[in-house]
Structures are given as C-alpha cells and as structure tokens.
C-alpha cells in the first residue's frame, strides 16, 4: 500500500462521521409522503423543489449578475476573435477587413451572447439555479486548479480583453445555460453556432495532440514540464468552452468535462511523479474513452489553421 493509499484509508475512516445520519424517522416521513400524494400539503420544513426562490437567493442572484456580464463580454470577445481569425485565413487580406466586419454584424444580431442579453437570460423565478457559493465566490478554502496563464489562443484573447477577475469567473462553472430542469439544450439551437463549433473543433484537436504526446512511452522531465504547461492552457480553454454555448450540447459537454478532469490530472503531475501516477492518468483516459470520443468529435480533414 502506498503512502497516499494509507492516507486515503485514514481519511475514509475519519469521514464516516461526516454528516452521519441519526435514526431514520420512517413513520413520520411516510405520513408526510402519503399526505403529499393524497393532495394534503406536505410538511416540508424547507422548500427544496419548484417553489419560489427565497430572498437570500434573490440577493445571491443580484450578487452574481455582474459576473454574468463579464462572462458575456468574454464570450463576445471569443466570438469576435474567432470570426476575425477565420476571415483572415480564408480570404485575401483586402477582402478580410470588409467581410469580417459584415460577418460580425450578422453574428451580433443573431447572437444571444451579449452582456445585456446574458444578464437577462433568466429562466424565471423559481427555476433559477444559482451556483453554490463555494463555486461562484471561489473562497480561499476552495482547492482547485486555477491556471494563471494560458497558452491557448482562446484564453489569451479573453484575458487580454476582459477585466481582471473575469478569467477566474470565466474558468468557473456556472449553470447559466441550463433550463429549469437542468437539461442542456442542443448547440444547434444556439445562435453563432458555427463560430463556437470551429473553436471547439480546434480545441479538441489540440487536446487530442496533447493526449497523444502524453501517451508516448519515451518522455523526459523536460517534456513532462512542457506537456503540463500545454495542458494548463487547454484546461483553461476547456472551462471557457463549457461555459459558452459550445457546452450546451449534452454529449459535447460530457466530453469537455471528462477532458477537463484528465487535463487537471496532467497539470498536477509533478516532474518527479512515479510511473504509477502516469498510468493512473492513462487509465482515466482509457476508462472514459476520451481519445476515441475526441477523434469522433473532430471531423475529417485539416483542422490546423482554423
């Protein structure tokens, strides 16, 4: 048993007292269930269903609203940057300036990702799901991988354009695009879908390249450090995409979530890590079929230069 495994076992034992339930109030709960099913008002001490949100959640909602403004601004910059990139690469320079402007105008008119629209994108009272405080506020006690820099083009543009603090907001998970039932809609329904599609495909291609490099048997510490840096940038971009309309497609969101976890493991891998730790990450990639799903999501044909 490794040292970490011993510590995990001790933590597991100590955690048995964490929120240990008292005796189950079987009969009392059964009475309440029967009352609810027969139409009588159930004795629910705390409303935890589709009831109206309490006042504290309203304050929380207004507290979080400015974050959605920054997220919308960041997403708008992503849209602009990707559109400019596509235009410059596919058309002559003289034409690119004119056509990009026209494309952006058309995109803006169709896109819902504007600061004002994001702030107003509210499914309505009683169905709004504010993120848990520990995620949105990122308190000091939150332990998470928050890369300070990003090598990816998507992240660099966002950090260059967005105000300070927006990167931490953008890299946190916010449920702003779920409907009342918490079900993600299809990305095909989202305005500006093509732009996010292109950005996502490019990102997935980069991720595939990283994971392929990680899978190489012959690596040295220098290469591991480079891979970790590369993974850091991709991790940041993955989180941005998850919070963008690209993350609305359920299957794609699941892939991005699994990719996020694998990238986080690679980032945390120390240069002196044992081979067993690398094997654990390889196992995560294989168990989640991440490579297969990445390759399936990337269309055939050249993706570089997009």
């Amino acid at each position: 048993m490794t040292e970490d495994e011993r510590i995990d076992e001790m933590i597991r034992n100590a955690a048995q007292d964490y929120n240990r339930a008292p005796a189950v109030p079987r009969d009392e709960m059964w009475t309440a269930i029967q009352a609810a099913r027969t139409g009588a008002t159930p004795k629910l001490h705390v409303i935890a269903g589709n009831a109206a949100a309490p006042r504290t959640a309203d304050r929380g909602r207004s507290f979080f609203a400015p974050r959605y403004v920054w997220l919308g601004a960041a997403a708008a910059v992503l849209l602009v940057a990707t559109g400019i990139g596509i235009g410059r690469l596919t058309m002559p320079v003289q034409q690119a300036a004119i056509n990009t402007g026209n494309n952006l105008q058309a995109s803006d008119s169709n896109s819902s990702v504007t600061p004002q629209r994001v702030a107003d994108d509210n499914p309505g009272p009683g169905t709004y799901d504010p993120p848990p405080p520990s995620v949105a506020q990122t308190p000091a006690g939150e332990i998470d991988v928050e890369p300070e820099t990003s090598r990816g083009g998507i992240g660099r543009v966002l950090r260059g354009a967005a105000p300070s603090g927006a990167s931490r907001v953008a890299s946190s998970r916010l449920p702003s695009r779920r409907n009342a039932a918490g079900i993600r809609g299809s990305v095909d329904e989202a305005p500006g879908n093509d732009t996010y599609q292109v950005a996502t495909i490019r990102h997935l291609a980069d991720a595939e390249a990283l994971l392929t490099s990680f899978s190489l048997e012959k690596r040295d510490q220098k290469m591991d450090a480079q891979l970790a840096g590369w993974a850091k940038g991709l991790l940041s971009n993955t989180r941005l995409l998850l919070d963008s309309p690209a993350g609305e497609d359920a299957r794609r969101a699941r892939l991005l979530e699994d990719l996020e976890l694998v990238l986080a493991q690679i980032v945390q891998l120390s240069p002196a890590a044992a081979a067993s730790e690398r094997e654990l990450i390889q196992g995560s990639i294989q168990n989640g079929q991440v490579m297969t799903r990445l390759r399936t999501a990337i269309p055939a044909g050249p993706t570089r230069g997009l």
Partner: protein, 197 residues
C-alpha cells in the same frame, strides 16, 4: 393474479420473497402494502445518502420525502434497466443536489482550512481538530468531487451505481474520486507526518 403474488399479499412472512419486478407491478397497480414495502426497503439508504449530502436533518427529510413522492409518480416509467435501488438513488441525488443549490445553507465552520495553526504535534488530542479540518475540507470540495467521494468512500456505492445516479460513465466517477481524494490529502497535508509515522 399469480399464486405467488396472492401469497405475498396475504402472508406477511412472504413479503420479503416478492421479487423486485413483482413489487413494482404491485406498486404500479396501487397496492398500498407494496408501496410501503418498497419504501421500507430503500428509505434507510436514501435517507443516509441525502443526509450525507445535506448535513441537515430537515433538508434530508424533505429530500427523502420528495424522492419517494417523485418515485411513486414515475414508477410506471421504471423499465428495470437498473435496479430499483439505483433508480431511487438517482432520483434522490438529483433532488438533493438541485435542492442544495436552491437553498443557501451556511457551510462556514469554526476552523477554515487556511486558519489552521501549526499542527505538527503527534499529540492524539489533535484529533478533534482533524475532524473539523476534514469537515471543512469535504465542505470545500466542489459538488462533483464531494458527491462522488461521499457516495463511494463514505456510503459504499460502486462506481457503476454512482455513474448511474449522476449520469456519468463509471470511469468519470473514478477520475472524480481520484481528484477528490487528492484535494483532501492536500488540504490535510499538515497531518501527513502523524499518519505516516
């Protein structure tokens, strides 16, 4: 009605023999005995799980009650693609996590992780502080890591059961558990020397 089902209804000792399919059929048919049987068979584990997630007795009761209310409403949709227990836990986890997001439960505790004083002592009297530190560390985990950690390491669910409940592959459950454990080890690094010795 089959002879076995008739016996199950009229002879209390045979209720336990009722297969899950027969039980569900009787619940769908509106048999109150079968409904209570289904409730009694699963309420303990559902309540323990919701309590682990909520940490509050009233919330745990509400979540448990809502779980069974919804289960009885949707029992006709149950296709036996998983066990009845897994299906109930899926509902319970969904209700609990959605409910916790809506309700602002105070998760501040007495000892934040960063405020821990130098804990290098091998004194076993430091153990109560470990409980507090561990509680804070688990509370500070993000929802996806905390949920998997509690379901697997504390409540003993398999990764397949967790995957079914959360709608994720079992591999993702394993990865999240790996990450969650790593974060807890990091948060409790002060105690490493004491544990390893």
């Amino acid at each position: 009605m089959s002879e076995g089902a008739m016996m199950a209804l009229t002879i209390p000792e045979t209720r336990g023999w009722m297969s899950e399919r027969q039980l569900v059929e009787r619940v769908v048919a509106g048999d109150p005995v079968a409904q209570r049987e289904m409730y009694d068979s699963h309420v303990d584990r559902v309540y323990r799980l919701t309590y682990r997630l909520a940490g509050d007795e009233e919330l745990a009761r509400d979540f448990t009650q809502l779980t069974f209310i919804r289960a009885f409403e949707r029992i006709r949709d149950f296709r036996h693609e998983s066990s009845l227990a897994t299906w109930l836990h899926t509902i319970g986890v969904s209700i609990s996590l959605n409910g916790l997001r809506k309700v602002k439960t105070a998760r501040t505790r007495e000892a934040p992780i960063e405020a821990a004083s130098a804990i290098g002592s091998m004194d076993r009297h430091a153990e109560p502080d470990l409980k507090v530190r561990l509680r804070n560390a688990i509370d500070s985990l993000s929802e996806k890591y905390r949920t998997v950690f509690l379901m697997h390491d504390v409540e003993g669910f398999t990764h397949e059961e967790i995957g079914a409940a959360l709608g994720i592959p079992a591999g993702t459950s394993k990865t999240r558990l790996f990450q969650g454990r790593a974060k807890l080890r990091e948060a409790l690094a002060d105690f490493r020397g004491e544990w390893v010795s």
